[in-house]
Amino acid sequence: MVEVIKKIFFALIVATLISCSSSTADDASPTSMAMDHNDSHDHDHDHDHGNNLDVSQLTDPPTVSISGAAIETGEVNLNFAVKNLELVPISPPSEHESGQGHLHLYVDGVSVAMLHETSYVVTDLTKGLHNFRVAISTNDHREYHVDGKAISDSISIEIEEGEETPEVDKGITVEVKNGTVVDGLQRLTVDVGEQVSITLLSDEDDMFHLHVYDLEVSLTAGQPETLQFQADIPGVFEGELHEAGYQILALEVS
């Protein structure tokens, strides 16, 4: 009898491990680790590329375009024209529904908003040229792609009246190549209150996330993006790539 119970006991442990690995079989591939909000099992019919949803097979894939102008000191009014897509609020969260979605807005590569409205005012912009990019996303936060490229549009607007960009106190460039960080994990040590600039360059499309500060930068292969912010929370923070799934930067603020 004891032998039987022992077997059942070990079978349970094995079952734990198997169920753990099978329930996350999709997550185990490094591509699905980003803003993939719902269980990928629900999307068997789509061409699921982790973070993205390729809709090249549609005859009328959705499109988006952006226009805008500076309105007041440090402010820009943006307008979006969306075709073949119904814009749905992101809250409460909903499952992916073909033909529905919302907009992801990036300012200078940094994710700033998720919208279901067709206009938006960006405030607190500094003097100089800024890039505004809009992409369309599924209800579960995967970006729609056509022919391997995100369906998106961007515009550059010069801000003439606005605060000067604060001077950078400390900066670092992090380059990711062939599946690892060039010269190993990068470290940047700064003081609380300093202006920090992080330039990111990857040989693959990815999403950079700086924890706790919760800054996200969408990266296009081979195109450097710079993130500038004031380091006001002390501690050591991980900067990681969502798609690649590993840490590339340790930011120490003391």
Partner: protein, 436 residues
């Protein structure tokens, strides 16, 4: 403006580590701990003191009120258990937006451990597995079958503790709500199956978390007397009444090893070693690292006990001094997870208002934000140093008291050399890990 971030966490939950402690402060603290330890060998009392302090005073005479409070607490924890378990499966599949990872890794693992050290054996009263196990017992006739030795010996409790550490620290996707959900579900079914077969009184011995928290509760000033009434005594003296069996020691050592590996995995050296690794590759590297650190911790204690057994001609050396490990474990826990509990732990209050990610705001806290500067990094740093050094000193004091209780002066002195060696090793290791 709404932002939703999904995150991978290298250490259960997190993404933030404490600032490294200056090497000078760490070295001075280590030296001080060492000096005080050796002083304790010769200069301290030569008659045991702790056993005399064990009795304590009665706290409350209002047994009725106590029963109402415990029944309520038990119900609240049970409801929370099912809410979180359900959130694992139907809440957002996202470590930060789902309430489960924060609840399991911060509120349960760190929060209950540290509260047990302060408030005593409360977990045994409110644990959802206790509640479910007892309900199962009540629902049928008394079981009289003798339980098998792997269960009665207590070794089964090591399994959940080991798997938990592996999920938290080694498995690359261990903080995924779905993974946690399956783990909790299987563990619960497994415990109830044991309870069905042999009764909860036996099945309880496989509930590793309950066993560990009960051991930690021994250092609390609050305890339950023989008549099951709450009493109070000096903190920490309770370990002299504690019976540390082989499995109990293994469980405490496993928890110590896990916490130590968590420290190792945040050092610059480890980050350089693991850079660029993700998925299965990361799991393999972490598993090896976890096993390696746990082995160092375990072998050190085992060897010290062997030497001690020879020096004192007492075969139970490991069990006699096992209690020393508990203050050291709590010292490690506080040093590594104090900031996690009070910073990232705030997410619990926020997520509790909307446990299924439906846009609810039950307690009006859903739109709160984590205050990352509620304690300064200076305070965190001193708490870290203080807890490691205090844990060490309390371990040494306990070992001293035990040895003078059991042996004449000369043997007592000799018995402490190996214990002191292993405690110094743990303390130096803990301090080195905090320098980054």
């Amino acid at each position: 403006m709404v932002l939703i971030f999904n995150s991978l966490f290298a250490h259960g939950v997190g993404g933030r580590s404490d600032l490294p402690i200056s090497e000078w402060i760490a070295a001075w603290s280590g030296a001080m701990a060492l000096l005080l330890s050796f002083a304790a060998l010769g200069l301290l009392w030569h008659q045991p003191r702790f056993p005399k302090l064990l009795n304590g005073h009665l706290i409350s005479k209002f047994a009725k009120t106590g029963q109402v409070i415990t029944a309520t607490a038990r119900l609240v924890v049970l409801v929370l258990f099912f809410v979180v378990l359900a959130a694992c499966f139907i809440g957002p599949d996202n470590t930060v937006a789902n309430i489960a990872p924060t609840t399991v890794f911060i509120i349960f693992w760190v929060g209950v451990a540290i509260s047990s050290a302060i408030f005593g054996p409360f977990w045994k009263t409110v644990s959802p597995w206790e509640t479910l196990g007892k309900l199962l017992d009540k629902s049928r006739t008394v079981v009289t079958r003798p339980a098998p030795s792997w269960l009665t010996s207590g070794w089964a409790a090591l399994i959940p503790i080991t798997i938990f550490h592996w999920l938290e620290l080694a498995y690359h996707d261990g903080s995924s709500p779905r993974v946690l959900g399956w783990s909790i579900l299987i563990y619960t079914v497994f415990l109830l199956a044991l309870a069905w077969r042999w009764g909860w009184a036996e099945a309880r011995k496989a509930e590793g978390f309950g066993v560990l928290f009960q051991l930690i509760a021994a250092i609390s000033p609050i305890f339950k007397g023989e008549d099951n009434r709450l009493k109070v005594r000096l903190p920490f003296v309770g370990i002299s009444a504690l019976n540390m069996s082989g499995p109990s020691i293994a469980i405490v050592l496993a928890a110590l090893g896990g916490t130590a590996f968590d420290g190792v995995s945040r050092t610059g050296w480890w980050l350089d070693l693991a850079v660029g690794k993700s998925g299965g590759g990361l799991t393999v590297v972490n598993t090896l690292g976890l096993a390696w650190v746990a082995l160092i911790i375990g072998v050190a204690y085992h060897q010290a006990s062997r030497i001690g057994s020879r020096l004192t001609s007492n075969q139970n050396f490991a069990q006699i001094f096992g209690g020393s490990l508990i203050p050291i474990l709590i010292g490690y826990d506080v040093a590594h997870y104090f900031s996690l509990l009070i910073l990232e732990g705030q997410a619990f209050k926020i997520l509790l208002s909307d446990p299924y990610g439906q846009g609810w705001n039950i307690f009006g806290t859903a739109d709160h934000a984590i205050n990352w500067t509620v304690v300064s990094t200076t305070v965190i740093g001193w708490v870290q140093i203080g807890s490691i050094v205090c844990g060490h000193l309390l371990g040494v004091l306990f070992a001293h008291d035990r040895s003078v209780e059991l042996w004449p002066k000369r043997t007592a002195l000799r018995s402490q050399y190996p214990m002191l060696m292993v405690m110094v090793l743990y303390t130096v290791m803990g301090l080195v890990l905090m320098t980054g």
